[in-house]
């Protein structure tokens, strides 16, 4: 795990300033505190900050091939590097390090972009191909590792995080109104867009080739959703055996590391299953970690205790108080680099710090199972709404709605008639390609009314949902409803929120690498072959997963309905004495200066949400409040005061400098220190 950054000058006159370049990589120190290295030629720069996990002593990056024509900076893991390496050695490749990074480099040398189909991993990397004078960048299939870029006529710059790009004086720092509308409606931006104008991300499962004159982006993997008649569905028994073997193997290769690997244990099905398989097959002294909450309705400590007792792991708890959430929210926004509608990333940020304090660099997590095996309530909501739309006179079906969201309704329901109208669907609505998410987006999209008139006028004619619909694959409308909802959830929410704001960013803030066995592409491809009713049987979510591993888990976990991982919002941000950053950022002058929101509406909302006796209800308003506060934080930290932040400069351990040798026509490599 690492931070990577680089620049390609696109005109002859544009050269790379080493000082600027070092500032860029210094901004990624938290991603790789162990060592760093740079490759610099007059027109190309690559840099890496390294969190050493595999090949600790010999793996300083950038790493070159045998003749120095290819150089790589790599963030992440190629878990199957052991197998790939033997193949490459047979083909005559020579290796100078024991790292997976070098395997990826030689695999590229051998196969070109096709190398990506062979890598089972989580990665973002860049290879400078000096003979083609081309930069090759790639990002893993589902977007576990980040990769952002900026491109203009003079340069192309990339980095693991946007804050590194912003160290370059030519990279603009402004918020994009359309991206803001996407966040407020869809809960995140739609790839490749980011919240900052002109900064894009390489979409998951894509690669990119950049030369002086050309930039092109290609997809190498997409979620394999097929029509039912085209699926090769195994018998239930064979399918269970296949899943047991696949998931065990996904864990096995994810335990490859030269440092100890721990596991998160939330008390839910997914993380308990990963911990159970790990301790049964690979490590009977597994160290596990979890979060407890001050607010009882978010707390899962009881279930965590049962899981720990059953598994016998060495467990470590942290406790998230409301005051901690408030205190650390600005740092979390700094790391996530986007407005947030939820506080759930904050406890995970605190957890990664605790794990790091226990000297762990790597943990396994259960992330991805809900998307892949059908765990989310929105999948069930879709099923119920479809049933209601198809049977408009049924009296019983709408009753199911009330069971869906007890954690939002706080055990009080507004009544059947209201839920029916709120979730109402007509047969006509079933033709809507985003039927599954329409109610959610309509509801949260209402929060766009908090935007200032200037932002609203920038948004004239813009529809966040239409942009998304335009990106859907052509076969999408023919798929079964669960596959459609899964694709939406994975394409939009998983990589851009779950794997970043609740994943990579809050873990790497404390130099911790997360590994997700459920997101092994073999597991995903297997799960997408299963019939929808195996995943959600009646209204039992992740049915197939539960049945397959029932023997391994305590009954309380197997039979426990999913409790979504959430964290308090309004409880964390009441008015306080003395006032703090929340008051500053939501003050009339700060809101006016930033210019994104309507002053009167922000004041009214803040007064209501922050009132001492805040009334129950109002999930959507909580999200509006947090969206506004975090947008103000993004503005404050990245637009208004970016330069004010101290940056501890990195001194690279490895420095490869290519100077144009005037007496020869070739470039000459000088390895100054290594």
């Amino acid at each position: 795990m690492c931070g990577i950054a680089g620049i390609l000058a696109r005109t002859e006159s544009a050269t790379i300033q080493e000082k600027t370049f070092l500032r860029m990589i210094s901004a990624l120190r938290h991603r790789g505190p162990d060592e760093s290295g740079v490759y610099l030629s007059p027109h190309v720069g690559l840099a890496n900050t390294r969190l050493s996990i595999i090949g600790i002593d010999g793996g300083t990056q950038p790493i070159g091939n045998e003749d120095g024509t290819l150089w790589i900076v790599f963030n992440g893991e190629a878990f199957n590097y052991v197998e790939l390496k033997s193949e490459l050695v047979e083909k005559g490749h020579r290796f100078a390090t024991p790292t997976d990074t070098e395997v990826v480099l030689h695999l590229y040398e051998e196969l070109g972009p096709d190398c990506l189909n062979r890598i089972n991993g989580q990665f973002a990397f860049a290879i400078w191909d000096s003979s083609r004078e081309e930069l090759f960048l790639a990002r893993d299939r589902v977007g576990i590792r980040p990769l952002h870029y900026y491109c203009d006529a003079h340069m192309f710059a990339f980095a693991s995080e946007i804050k590194a790009l912003f160290q370059h004086p030519d990279v603009p720092r402004t918020l994009d109104a359309e991206a803001l509308a996407q966040v407020f409606t869809l809960w995140t931006t739609v790839t490749p867009r980011t919240i900052f104008r002109g900064i894009e991300e390489l979409p998951p499962g894509h690669y990119m080739r950049v030369s002086k004159n050309k930039v092109w982006v290609e997809r190498f993997w997409s979620l394999p959703a097929r029509l039912m008649e085209n699926r090769r569905v195994p018998s239930p028994g064979a399918a269970r055996e296949e899943l047991q073997a696949l998931l065990t193997d996904a864990i096995r290769i994810r335990l490859r590391a030269d440092v100890p690997v721990g596991a998160y244990l939330s008390g839910g099905l997914d993380s308990t299953l990963i911990a159970a398989l790990t301790s049964r097959h690979f490590n009977n002294r597994l160290k596990t970690f979890s979060i407890g909450f001050e607010e009882e309705r978010f707390d899962e400590t009881r279930f965590q205790r049962e899981a720990v007792q059953h598994l016998g792991t060495d467990h470590h708890w942290i406790f998230a108080r409301n005051a901690d959430i408030r205190e650390h929210f600005p740092s979390v926004v700094w790391h996530c680099e986007k407005p947030l509608l939820r506080t759930a990333p904050v406890p995970l940020y605190l957890l990664s710090r605790a794990v790091r304090d226990q000297r762990f660099k790597v943990v396994l997590t259960g992330e991805g199972a809900d998307e892949v095996f059908g765990g989310y309530n929105i999948f069930k909501e879709t099923k119920i709404r479809r049933a209601c739309a198809l049977h408009p006179h049924s009296r019983l079906r709408p009753l199911l709605l009330e069971k869906l969201y007890p954690y939002i309704l706080n055990n009080a329901s507004p009544g059947q008639a209201y839920l029916e109208k709120f979730f109402a669907a007509s047969p006509q609505d079933l033709l809507d390609p985003v039927f599954s998410h329409r109610v959610r987006w309509r509801n949260s999209g209402r929060n766009c009314t908090f935007f200032s008139s200037a932002v609203q006028s920038d948004l004239t004619g813009f529809s966040p949902v239409h942009v998304l619909i335009d990106r859907l694959p052509p076969e999408f409308s023919d798929l079964d409803p669960l596959s459609q909802a899964q694709i939406l959830e994975m394409e939009i929410f998983m990589s851009n929120y779950l794997l970043t704001s609740q994943g990579d960013r809050v873990a790497m803030a404390h130099s911790l690498e997360l590994r997700m066995p459920f997101l092994d592409y073999r597991v995903i491809e297997f799960a997408m072959r299963l019939p929808p009713h195996w995943k959600i049987f009646g209204l039992t979510e992740k049915h197939f997963l539960r049945r397959t591993f029932a023997d391994l888990l305590p009954a309380s976990v197997t039979h426990r309905p999913k409790q979504p991982y959430r964290a308090p919002i309004r409880e964390a941000f009441p008015f306080t004495t003395p006032p703090d950053y929340v008051d500053d950022l939501l003050s009339e002058s700060a809101v006016r200066r930033a210019g994104y929101f309507n002053l009167a509406k922000v004041a009214g909302l803040a007064k209501k949400v922050r009132a001492p006796a805040a009334v129950a209800a109002g999930e959507t308003q909580d999200m509006a409040f947090l969206g506004i506060l975090s947008t103000q934080l993004v503005h404050h930290q990245f637009v208004e005061n970016f330069g004010a932040r101290d940056l501890e400069p990195i001194v690279p351990k490895k420095r490869i400098v290519i100077t144009r040798n005037r007496s020869h026509s070739f470039d000459e490599a000088t390895i100054l220190s290594c």
Binding site: G415, A417, K421, F422, R446, A600, G604, A617, G618, E619
Partner: protein
């Protein structure tokens, strides 16, 4: 104080759900269709009506026909208050 159901209800909805009178709320505007009040916001509305007008709103009365616009609420309250003339009119005090 003047007994003005419509004004009181309208002000409550603006103060609690719209936050600024942007002219979008008409007497007939459907709260649910326009997204002004979501299914959880209804609970807030009910708490306000029960407290302000000292009435008990029964489960079977929690239906959009009674509560989904300023106009619907006013008609509902008038029916309810008219049917129970002895109830103390909190706001009138």
């Amino acid at each position: 104080m003047e007994w003005d159901l419509e004004k009181t209800v309208r002000e409550f909805v603006i103060r609690n759900f719209i936050f600024d009178d942007d002219g979008s709320l008409q007497a007939e505007t459907s709260f649910l269709d326009s997204g002004i009040i979501d299914s959880t916001g209804v609970l807030e509305l009910i708490a306000f009506l029960e407290e302000t007008y000292q009435v008990k709103i029964e489960d079977q009365e929690i239906i959009p026909e009674n509560l989904d616009s300023v106009h619907n609420i006013v008609s509902f309250l008038e029916r309810k208050l008219g049917a129970a003339p002895n109830l103390q009119r909190a706001e009138a005090n």
